[in-house]
């Protein structure tokens, strides 16, 4: 197992596709900083007695963008092996296919939250640095207050990565797995909010993108397309299901199918 993990670590480090996804995730930092800067300019342009307003939590925006980038990284870690045919080389080197999948899950499932955590802390710091002590609502507090939602969002990034990995192992296709991932990330939540009451909240509460906010929210979640019905432990459990069920479903198929 150590050999399989070390192998997948080398593969991830030397994969261009993975680097592009990590760069896309890191690009959330300049994006958030630019939004904060624009808000600060708008604020400063107002006469001092008219300065009111709020900024929505930028860590949440950055976290939302990163779940897709890191989910795609997970999907490509498996599907690129199938589309290029490299999977046949992988399985001749490591014939225990379940071990290969587990090693990929371990490596991607560690790299994704580590990246997300670093970017989120940087976004938190940049927002505070840019907006300073302006009286705007929604400027994040000190890290002692903010660490819980940041950690929950990093966990959500790991969930999307493992979900992408599992979907790719099931479908063996980059297009199918990324399309399914993108649907769960955007299309499904956008559609679910139009379901009749109370199903919009019920379904919206278990979608992967809304779970971090139910564990710890960085600010008011009013207007969210997601529901808010789960207790924190329930949201954490649902996260684990999203991450593990596709992987566990792919496990037996991997042994049965020809590579």
């Amino acid at each position: 197992m150590i050999d399989a993990v070390a192998t997948e670590w080398i593969k991830l480090r030397t994969s261009r596709a993975a680097w592009y996804c990590l760069i896309a995730a890191a690009a959330m930092l300049p994006l958030a900083a630019a939004i904060a800067w624009t808000a600060s300019q708008a604020w400063d342009a107002l006469p001092p007695d008219e300065r009111t307003g709020s900024i929505s939590p930028l860590t949440q925006l950055a976290g939302w963008g990163m779940t897709l980038a890191l989910g795609v990284m997970g999907a490509l870690a498996v599907s690129r092996e199938y589309t290029s045919g490299m999977v046949r080389t992988t399985f001749t080197a490591l014939p225990s296919r379940g071990r290969v999948l587990a090693a990929k899950a371990l490596v991607c499932g560690a790299v994704a939250p580590a990246t997300a955590l670093a970017v989120l802390v940087a976004v938190w710091w940049a927002t505070r640095a840019v907006l300073g002590d302006r009286g705007m609502e929604g400027i994040p507090g000190p890290l002692t207050q903010e660490w819980e939602p940041i950690a929950a969002m990093a966990a959500e990034a790991a969930v999307f990565t493992l979900l992408g990995l599992g979907l790719a192992a099931l479908t063996r296709s980059a297009v199918a797995s990324i399309a399914a991932l993108g649907a769960l990330w955007y299309l499904v939540p956008m559609t679910v909010q139009f379901l009749p009451e109370p199903w919009n909240d019920r379904v919206g509460s278990v979608l992967p993108g809304g779970l971090a906010a139910q564990i710890a929210s960085p600010g008011p979640t009013g207007g969210s397309v997601y529901g808010d019905l789960l207790p924190p432990w329930g949201a954490a459990l649902t996260m684990a299901l999203w991450a593990l069920v596709p992987l566990l479903a792919a496990w037996p198929l991997l042994r049965l199918r020809d590579a």
Binding site: D3, T7, T14, G85, M86, R88, F91, T92, L256, A259
Partner: protein, 297 residues
């Protein structure tokens, strides 16, 4: 040592390999021949555990491939030069392969050097020519210094220098007592390298022979006589194989020119000419695989 026993593999309704049995012994290069689509690649994939056989078994070094610990150090396989990530460099590709089987890192640069692709080690693998990727595949197969080599059409895309390099390499590996299984759809590629020939067509074994035997099978005498019918009967009675040609000439196998002449003289049958002929290996191979096609139909 490679043992294939009653191997059967079906894809949907197509039977790709049909109860195929053969062995490849240590110290020999075994040529694995058959037309495109005969089932060579399927057999080789089953051999290294990529495809699950529907029946029968394939063993390497006495066990199923998946049972080997650190398989790259026991068996080197080159099945498809494109079985790599085109975005990764050759060095990175060999690096993860080495790590997966605990092969020392130093072997990576040795293998690159020795396969003649050290100069391209840091380029994208997808940008390499087919010949270069083929060399990278050979470097990967030999990375773990394995005692068994399984190579599917390894000379594809190689230039003449590369073809000679490959031939000498495989001969050297067999001379060291290793087992080499080498597939090709062209007899000319294999005849100068292989000691044994395993010929398949439509998933079935059609010949398991040596190169020398196959050449001897193709040797014969072409005779012209005004009494071809009498001559054919006479030679057949004496154990020769006789095939009449279109122009009344006979192709006789199993006798040399002297024996044919003496037999004709003893029976008083005049000969207008006789000469040794040699069907090429290529022709012998075509005949074998064509017959198999007929038999199946």
């Amino acid at each position: 040592m490679i043992e294939v026993e009653e191997l059967t593999k079906r894809y949907g309704r197509t039977t790709a390999v049909d109860r195929l049995s053969f062995r490849a012994e240590p110290g020999l290069v075994t040529g694995f021949l058959g037309p495109n689509g005969a089932g060579k690649s399927t057999t080789m994939r089953a051999l290294v555990g990529l495809d699950r056989p529907d029946a029968g078994r394939a063993r390497v070094l006495g066990v199923p491939y998946a049972r080997l610990r650190h398989p790259l150090r026991r068996v080197g396989a080159l099945l498809d030069a494109d079985a790599l990530d085109p975005g990764r460099t050759p060095r990175a590709h060999l690096h993860w392969l080495a790590r997966s089987n605990r092969i020392p890192r130093a072997r990576v640069d040795e293998a690159l050097e020795w396969a003649g692709i050290a100069g391209a080690a840091s380029r994208r693998a997808g940008g390499l020519s087919l010949g270069m990727r083929q060399r990278l595949g050979v470097a990967a197969a030999l990375l773990g210094d394995p005692e068994v080599l399984v190579l599917d059409e390894p000379v594809n895309g190689l230039d003449p220098d590369g073809v000679r390099w490959m031939r000498e390499l495989l001969r050297a590996k067999a001379a060291e007592g290793r087992t080499v299984l080498l597939s090709s759809h062209l007899m000319s590629e294999v005849a100068r390298t292989a000691d044994r020939l395993v010929v398949i067509a439509r998933g079935r074994l059609v010949a398991d022979t040596s190169v020398r035997e196959l050449v001897q099978d193709g040797e014969g005498v072409l005779v012209h006589s005004p009494r071809p019918g009498d001559l054919a009967r006479l030679l057949s009675e004496r154990g020769a194989g006789v095939q009449p040609g279109d122009d009344g000439a006979l192709t006789v196998t199993g006798m040399d020119v002297r024996e044919v002449g003496e037999a004709a003289a003893s029976a008083g049958i005049p000969l207008h000419g006789s000469a040794p002929v040699r069907t090429s290996l290529e022709e012998a191979y075509m005949r074998l695989t064509a017959d198999a096609g007929e038999a199946v139909r």
